[in-house]
Symmetry: C2
Subunit: 152 residues, 2 copies
DNA sequence: AAAAATAATTAGCCTAACCTAATTTTTTGT
DNA sequence: ACAAAAAATTAGGTTAGGCTAATTATTTTT
């Protein structure tokens, strides 16, 4: 009955996409979620049942779903993290393809403390465009010499 | 023969710990690895067999193990990432308990591009102690007002 | 050198998240 | 209205990475 204690990375991913679909299209069907996450519809159905059981959505077979309060709260928190990280990495000049991939990997593992730190940092960096230029420049230099490993 | 294409987060964790044990104690026994990763010895034995099969270590039952070239390369890459991230988050004033936890979660998901950007940023930040003070200050303020809330 | 303690291995399970194939329900086009 | 298409569900696998309990090797102590 209660939304359970801690949500896994997978749960967070689903909720994030569901919220996004709800806000952009007004609804989130199994087929849309599957396409968005690039997984099978069967897997989505399965997860929706679990999300319902855990109190993150209200789900009725074949009929559709709605985020609960708690589900929406989780989804919004993740979306906010995602946005913050996008903002931050964009500022640093990380190329968009790589950026999105990295964010999807790391967004489930950042504590409020770390997020707060990055938020502060991001805000501060925005006030110092010269500094940002320097940072982006330093990257180009190194990249051409060969950094840590092969590029992605 | 060849170390396989892509290493999972778990593989990377094991290799990182093995390298650390090797350098600090001179050897890495099953019991030590298990204690360090807080998992059972049985699981470690299992993974060691896999690491051997995939060419990351040379492993002889009951006798011990050595990192191969490829295993050591992976381990060093991860260790370097870990160090960089520690440096970065420390600079931002993220408390050490949280910091370590977050790093363990995210270090397996960062592309060379992102790492390079953070490296440049970290170097630049070190030259601007006043800026850092400001960032750390901003965090304290917010933290006392509320956990993770959006700003402008 | 034998017994006791410690370390390592094996065997057999478990769970989370995925998958495909088959089936059922809903929607759509004529 | 009803057949065809699309969407959703169920049933039954698979894989990674953990676990415990039982067994076997090795090391230490007496």
């Amino acid at each position: 009955m209660t939304a359970s204690s801690r949500s896994s990375a997978a749960v967070e991913d689903y909720l994030e996409r569901i919220l996004e679909l709800m806000t952009t299209k007004g609804y989130a069907r199994v087929v849309d979620i599957a396409a968005s996450l690039q997984i099978s519809q069967a897997s989505v159905t399965n997860m929706l049942q679990r999300l319902d059981a855990e109190g993150f959505i209200n789900y009725e077979k074949y009929r559709g779903l709605m985020l609960t309060e708690s589900g929406e709260a989780v989804a919004r928190a993740i979306a906010q993290r995602h946005e913050l990280l996008t903002d931050f990495l964009t500022l640093l000049g990380v190329p968009s393809e790589v950026r999105e991939h990295d964010i999807e990997g790391i967004e489930h593992h950042m504590s409020p403390s770390t997020l707060l730190a990055i938020e502060s940092l991001t805000m501060e960096l925005k006030k110092h465009p010269m500094l940002l230029k320097k940072i982006q420049g330093a990257q180009k230099k190194r990249r051409s010499r060969g950094p840590l490993r092969s590029e992605e």
